[in-house]
Each structure stands twice: as structure tokens, then as C-alpha cells.
């Protein structure tokens, strides 16, 4: 079928969503299947066919979705029921809806700038949050920092078994051997 002129094309809406937790790697194809399953299980085949949902891509930790105009509300409700993508727990936080993908890409850039500005400045001592830095403890268990955003810290329990990702804040963590660090407390 020949490409229609712009005035005869179907109107689309584009949805921008942030993928939580930060730093998790999600394949667009897996996200498409997860999104499709969420939409079909909630609204059924007729609505899904009318909605024509798809994943445009994943850029800088944000996912771009597309649907037909008028069905964006249903798409957003379905996206809020998405909790797992290929057995990886994720959450999609809707940031914006737009009529063009280009404007959402501008939003991503603005979102990235804001996120960079909110980042905690690195310590003056030059200590980083990489495993080479100080060791941390949450409760009784030693933990390793996976990602850090402002006060929010994602850690993983150290050990051979029963390790899981924990979502904490900087105030929850204690520095192990804090008194033995030369420039510590």
C-alpha cells in the first residue's frame, strides 16, 4: 500500500516512561512483549487491535511507546500493571505524553539534565561509590552499592546465597570499619 499523505495518516500519541530501577538493562523486544501482555490481559484483543501499541525504543533509561490517538489513557493504565520484564522486576513511571516522538526526545534530554543536577556531588576526598570505596552495611548484612541517585541508593546483599536487591537511602547505610578509614569519622 502506498504511503498516505500526512493529512490522511492515522494520528498517533507517544508516551514517555522512565524505567525503574535505575541502571537495569531492558531489551526493547522484551519490553514490547511485556507491554503487549499487559495490554491484552487487561483490555483484551479488540482494544489492543484498536490501540496498536508498540515500543519505539529505549533511550537513557526511558522507554518510548506509541499508540493510536485516543487510546493513550488505556495504554498508560496497562503500563501501570507492568511489573516484570523477562523475569526482571521493573516499574514504568509515566513522564509525558506527546503527539511527536521528537518532543519526547527533547524531554528525555531535559530529564537527563535534571537528573544530573540532582546527583550528589562526589566526595572531596575522591572516594567513589564503586566497590573500591568504603564498605557499607545495612542492618547486620554487608551490602554493595549498585546505583546511587541523590539520597536514593540501590544495593545488593553480599554473599553466595539469598542475595537480593534492596532499595535504601544514604541514611540507612552504615560504613563498615569507619574508624579505621584514615579520613573517616
Amino acid at each position: 500500500m502506498a504511503v498516505r499523505p500526512p493529512t490522511l495518516r492515522e494520528k498517533r500519541r507517544y508516551v514517555l516512561a522512565r524505567i525503574d530501577p535505575e541502571g537495569v538493562q531492558v531489551d526493547p523486544k522484551d519490553l514490547y512483549y511485556a507491554m503487549y501482555e499487559a495490554v491484552v490481559s487487561l483490555f483484551g484483543d479488540p482494544v489492543t487491535a484498536a490501540m496498536q501499541p508498540s515500543v519505539i525504543g529505549i533511550e537513557s533509561g526511558c522507554a518510548l511507546f506509541r499508540c493510536r490517538r485516543g487510546t493513550e489513557r488505556e495504554l498508560m493504565v496497562a503500563l501501570s500493571t507492568l511489573g516484570v520484564c523477562r523475569e526482571v522486576p521493573v516499574a514504568l513511571r509515566i513522564l509525558a505524553v506527546s503527539g511527536t516522538a521528537e518532543s519526547l526526545r527533547e524531554r528525555i534530554a531535559a530529564f537527563q539534565e535534571k537528573a544530573t543536577a540532582e546527583q550528589t556531588p562526589p566526595d572531596q576526598s575522591g572516594e567513589s561509590v564503586t566497590p573500591a570505596g568504603p564498605e557499607y552495611r545495612f542492618g547486620e548484612a554487608p551490602v554493595e552499592i549498585l546505583s546511587r541517585h541523590g539520597h536514593k541508593v540501590d544495593v545488593i546483599e553480599k554473599g553466595f546465597k539469598n542475595t537480593r536487591r534492596l532499595y535504601l537511602t544514604t541514611e540507612d547505610l552504615e560504613i563498615l570499619h569507619a574508624t579505621t578509614i584514615p579520613d573517616g569519622i
Binding site: 500493571t81 516499574a91 532499595y167
Partner: protein, 213 residues
């Protein structure tokens, strides 16, 4: 109006600390959260209200536990059971919220229970976890139960609360997302706003029917 998530489950039962849940709640548009087995505190402007969830207890045990919690500022939630149990619990002073209506018997929550809940200012909780994470029959059953609850709520006007029952920050949902999910069983935006304020409504100190001037 205070926007409250009526139940979150922090570490160790969940995988997120209370402070992290509060931070996430702030970014999702909440003013306060009810956290099970947590201390009362304010984190970055979000009020953490301690909560207790009584499940699998007899009505007598529920009454004694509710009596112990009276005046401590703890939000007492009770798992719904059969019709007789719900009637007794809804009548119990100190019980704030009835949870798990979606899993209760089909006839457990009827017009009589609705009237008792309205008279005693006991809220019915709309738990969004089965709608978010459930699929197929489980989600259909939950939506059906909530449709029934909405019919009775319009008639008797008992308080409602909305909870995510999140054990992780990933399980929490924004106010706008909750509004979208609640629209699946016919709750409009005004109703959602009122339900999110439900915890403040049920925990407000009782006013005397007679005012001495």
C-alpha cells in the same frame, strides 16, 4: 486533604527501607504512607504513619489487639473474613480499615456490613496489588468485588482507602496511575481523591455529637 497510601510493607518483609518508600512516595505525589511495623516519623516532608495488619485472628483477638493499639496513633487494619467476622470487626472500636475484601467470600461484604462500617467510620480498603500484579481470574475477581463495594459505597457512604500494598518501591504507583487503575471499576477522580484521604478521615479524633458552648 492528605494523600495517603494506606499500606506499604517495608524491610525486612519487603525489600525497601521506610525512608526509601517515603522518598518514592513523595516523588509519586503522596503526602503520607501507612507503613507496617514502622515508627512514626516524617521523611522529606512525607509523614510515615505506623500501621498494624491483623490477619488470621479471631474476632476476640482482634478486639484485644485493637484495644492495645488505641491512642498510639497506629492505623489498625484487619483482614476480612466471612460475613459474621466482618460485622463484628467493623463494629469494633479501634479498627480503622478492613482489608482483603477482594479475597473474601462473595457475600462477606453486604449491605448490613456496609451500614455498620458507615456508622462506625471503618474504612474498606481498595488494594490495587491484585489489579497490578494479578492476571486472569484473580484480577477479574478483584475488579468484580470492587464494583460491588462501589455500589454499596454510593448508597451508604462508608470511608474508602486505597493502598498499593507495595513490598518494594517498584510496587508503588503514582496518584495518577492509581486514578487510572480505579477507573477500571468505575471510581472517578473525585472518588479517588476522597479515598486517598480516607486514612486521615478514619484516624481523625472522634467529635462529640453534642457541643457544649
Amino acid at each position: 486533604m492528605k494523600i495517603t497510601d494506606a499500606c506499604v510493607v517495608p524491610y525486612p518483609a519487603g525489600d525497601s527501607s521506610v525512608r526509601r518508600l517515603a522518598l518514592e512516595a513523595r516523588s509519586l505525589g503522596f503526602d503520607s504512607i501507612v507503613a507496617l511495623a514502622a515508627k512514626a516519623e516524617t521523611v522529606c516532608g512525607v509523614e510515615v504513619i505506623p500501621g498494624i495488619y491483623l490477619a488470621g485472628l479471631s474476632a476476640k483477638d482482634v478486639q484485644s489487639r485493637a484495644k492495645k493499639c488505641r491512642g498510639t496513633g497506629t492505623v489498625v487494619s484487619v483482614q476480612a473474613g466471612d460475613n459474621g467476622f466482618i460485622r463484628t470487626v467493623a463494629n469494633t472500636r479501634g479498627v480503622h480499615i478492613l482489608r482483603g475484601i477482594y479475597a473474601a467470600d462473595k457475600h462477606a461484604f453486604d449491605h448490613v456490613t456496609a451500614k455498620i462500617a458507615a456508622d462506625n467510620n471503618t474504612a474498606i480498603d481498595i488494594d490495587l496489588a491484585p489489579i497490578i500484579f494479578g492476571r486472569g481470574h484473580q484480577r477479574q475477581k478483584a475488579i468484580h468485588r470492587y464494583l460491588d463495594v462501589m455500589v454499596l459505597e454510593r448508597r451508604f457512604e462508608f470511608p474508602l482507602t486505597i493502598s498499593s500494598s507495595a513490598r518494594s518501591v517498584l510496587g508503588m504507583r503514582a496518584v495518577r496511575e492509581m486514578t487510572g487503575l480505579c477507573s477500571l471499576f468505575g471510581m472517578d477522580e473525585t472518588g479517588v481523591q476522597a479515598a486517598l484521604d480516607g486514612v486521615a478521615r478514619v484516624t481523625a479524633p472522634e467529635e462529640s455529637a453534642v457541643t457544649v458552648i
